[in-house]
């Protein structure tokens, strides 16, 4: 049992070292995993993490020990072999990529299992491969520079540093090879070479984390934090940072959960990662389900509100010259806004925004600001109808529908451009007057 930092209680120390191992382990996986997820190669990560077992087994067979270097070499070799065979079989063997991957990695895994079964006892026990041994990390100690640290940090820390260096050094190569491999190839930045280099890193990261969390939770650490991060940001750099952070949180929560429920740390880390992923799916700003639903609702609300305004404006147009405003009952108002609670909410919003007002008799009418908005909407609508009519051979009754939809999205800028395009912008195809725009108001009056 490790006896420092001294200011922590023994229990806290246990937690500290275990979590530290978890965080470091997750970090290296998260960084490399980002590229796997972006390149749609998540399952190749799964394949490699199974296949490395064969690499470890062969290394043990050849060297009689589980020293880090031969194990690492064995794992990377098998990892590259997996990637290479998968690709070759798919290209030359005329089988699909997914079948090819399945056959290759399960066969390698089978070889690994058979070799292991032939070796008696020793370190290579199945428990470790399945469950990981991070729970006992603080107990397996080695001494480095006079300090006791968990044995697995000896492998995890260098691996994480290597991963960081790799990504920093090859930042632009990884970027272009992942984004546009065709272009990369034509530029001489071998997309193939980068692919295999990345796969080698995947194998390295996998095998170094194997002792900690076992063969399959590694996949969770490779994929889940990056997938979560992808929902949270649109920048590659931030995606990497978020992945590492989420991985770290998984380590902490995983440990806590394992202690609370008296179970295995690696498993709980995977569950914690899954939990964060679910939260992101639901609540991520911009890409989460909730925010998308809210976005849709906001749009529906805006359209309903604008529909009321535009229709009231049209009613005012049609009304006799003398009247300067049209009153409608609340019920008619709601009817104009469209069915349901969205309509009612729209009217509420409009009166809040002072675009609709009530008179003493309980009738509703447009305010000045409301009228401005209505004029702009109707202008958009009729400009668009005119544009369609001038440029496309559409029957007259086909003009209203598209204009009805688009009037909500045509702003003053696009209006100005339309005016430039049109032969004339005074009346629409049905002969109705196109209301002038705001700046046009002045310039038109000036011209007259």
């Amino acid at each position: 049992m490790i006896d420092w930092p001294v200011f922590l209680s023994p229990d806290a120390r246990l937690a500290f070292w275990t979590i530290l191992c978890g965080v470091v382990c997750n970090a290296s996986c998260a960084i490399i995993g980002c590229y796997l997820v972006l390149r749609r190669m998540s399952l190749l990560g799964d394949a490699i993490s199974h296949a490395v077992l064969a690499g470890i087994a062969v290394a043990f067979l050849l060297t009689g020990s589980l020293a880090p270097l031969p194990v690492f070499i064995g794992a990377v070799t098998v990892g590259l072999l997996t990637a290479f065979l998968t690709q070759s079989l798919a290209t030359w063997g005329r089988i699909t990529e997914d079948s090819s991957m399945g056959i290759v990695f399960t066969s390698l895994f089978a070889i690994g299992v058979i070799i292991v079964s032939q070796i008696d006892g020793v370190h290579l026990d199945t428990d470790c491969v399945l469950y990981g041994s991070i729970d006992t990390a603080p107990v397996e100690i080695i001494t480095v520079a006079g300090y006791d640290i968990p044995h697995m940090l000896q492998i995890l820390v260098p691996m994480t540093v290597l991963t960081l260096l790799f990504v920093i050094a090859f930042w632009k190569e990884l970027k272009i090879a992942s984004f546009d491999p065709l272009l990369a190839t034509t530029m001489g930045i071998g997309a193939s070479f980068m692919h295999y280099l990345l796969m080698a890193m995947v194998a390295g990261v996998t095998v170094s984390s194997l002792e900690a969390v076992g063969a399959i939770v590694v996949v969770a650490m490779l994929i889940v934090p990056p997938a979560t991060a992808h929902l949270l940001t649109d920048r590659l750099g931030w995606m990497l940072v978020w992945s590492v952070a989420i991985g770290g949180v998984s380590a902490v929560l995983g440990y806590w959960g394992a202690v609370r429920f008296d179970t295995n740390v690696a498993g709980m880390m995977a569950v914690a990662a899954g939990g964060q992923f679910t939260l992101a799916v639901a609540f991520a700003p911009k890409h989460g389900l909730l925010s998308r639903a809210i976005g849709r609702m906001q749009l529906a609300l805006r359209i309903a509100a604008e529909d009321v305004i535009a229709k009231l404006y049209r009613l005012e147009e049609q009304a006799a010259e003398s009247t300067n405003r049209v009153d409608v009952s609340r019920k008619e108002c709601e009817h104009l806004a469209g069915a349901g609670w969205i309509g009612r909410l729209a009217i509420l919003v409009l009166s809040r925004r002072k675009q609709l007002a009530t008179s003493a008799s309980g009738q509703w009418h447009l305010t000045t600001t409301g009228r401005e908005l209505g004029r702009s909407l109707v202008r958009s609508h009729r400009l668009w109808e005119t544009f369609l009519d001038e440029n496309f051979e559409l029957p007259p009754d086909h003009l209203h529908e598209p204009a009805e939809r688009l009037e909500h999205f045509i702003g003053p800028q696009l209006q100005a451009r339309l005016v430039q395009e049109l032969a004339q912008s005074r009346t629409d195809p049905q002969g109705k007057v196109i209301p002038p725009g705001e700046a046009a108001n002045d310039s038109e009056h000036a011209a007259e």
Binding site: K172, F179, D180, L182, A184, I189
Partner: protein, 280 residues
């Protein structure tokens, strides 16, 4: 059908420089495609294709669907294996001339969900000259910004590529190609599915590139605009039908050989031309 047009001159040397005086001694041709066949299993996609471009030109490549136009571009770039024949760029194998060739692929070839912004994407055009491990520095960044300005999307520099319209995406590709500063540009349907304004920008750009002495080869989808945009045209349908200056080569005869009888507009044009010739 006259003997001359049937002449199976398998090596149609495109005399692209016919109408222009060329006082240069025999410099290496910009592009030399010799006897190229590309086949998938037994089906030829390109068949005994010969084309030589001797001078910097602005060339449109047209042909029906399945004619092998994209395949031609990819064959030049070494992206697909040749069943037979050879391609040389400026006198050498393409592999040796990578830095001199710029590629603008079709928009579908890229993952637009990738988390980078417009500036980043255009900066990628400079990676080829930087080589391995070196980072883009101030010079490259300034150059990338310059290219963005040239295609008119400088204000979109910080925008995520996934949030762009079709026309904007195409301009990003173009800016990236400009950043490559190549001598030979190969573009695969750059004007497909873009709005009129973007098409105009693209065309201006192609003109400028040509004026700067570069060769631009464009797979073009719209026959009607070929005479407006290009000086030279290549008509192909698996094989080369004709190549040369637009005035000489872009005739109803050749178009019929390339496209068949599907295009009424060309039949009308052909008729009109024939009736005019007859009456003269």
């Amino acid at each position: 059908m006259s003997t001359r047009t049937l002449a199976s001159s398998r090596r149609v040397l495109s005399r692209m420089a016919e109408s222009r005086t060329s006082s240069e001694p025999a410099a290496a041709p910009v592009l030399d495609i010799h006897d190229v066949t590309v086949a998938y299993h037994r089906k030829p996609v390109l068949w005994d294709f010969d084309l030589t471009i001797t001078e910097p030109s602005l060339v449109g490549i047209v042909g029906p669907n399945g004619a092998g136009k994209s395949t031609l571009i990819k064959a030049i770039l070494g992206l697909i294996p040749l069943t037979s024949g050879s391609v040389s760029v400026l006198g050498q194998d393409f592999a040796k001339q990578r830095k001199l060739v710029g590629y603008v692929p079709q928009r579908e070839s890229v993952d637009w969900d990738f988390p980078i912004n417009v500036f980043d994407a255009v900066l990628m055009g400079t990676y080829g000259e930087l080589g391995w491990l070196r980072r883009p520095g101030r010079k490259q960044r300034r150059w990338a910004m310059h290219c963005l300005e040239k295609v008119g999307i400088a204000d979109l520099a910080q925008r995520q590529i996934g949030q762009l319209s079709g026309g904007q995406q195409q301009r990003v590709f173009l800016a990236r190609a400009l950043a490559q500063n190549a001598k030979l540009y190969l573009m695969d349907e750059p004007m497909a599915g873009v709005d009129a304004a973007t098409e105009h920008v693209i065309f201006q750009l192609l003109r400028e590139l040509h004026d700067e002495g570069r060769t631009v080869l464009v797979v073009h989808h719209d026959l009607r605009t070929v005479p407006d945009y290009f000086d030279d045209v290549v008509l192909m349908n698996l094989r080369l039908v004709a190549a040369g200056p637009v005035e000489k080569v872009f005739t109803p005869e050749n178009l019929r050989k390339t496209y068949g009888r599907r295009l009424d507009i060309l039949d009308d044009a052909g008729e009109a031309m024939r009736s005019r010739v007859r009456s003269e």
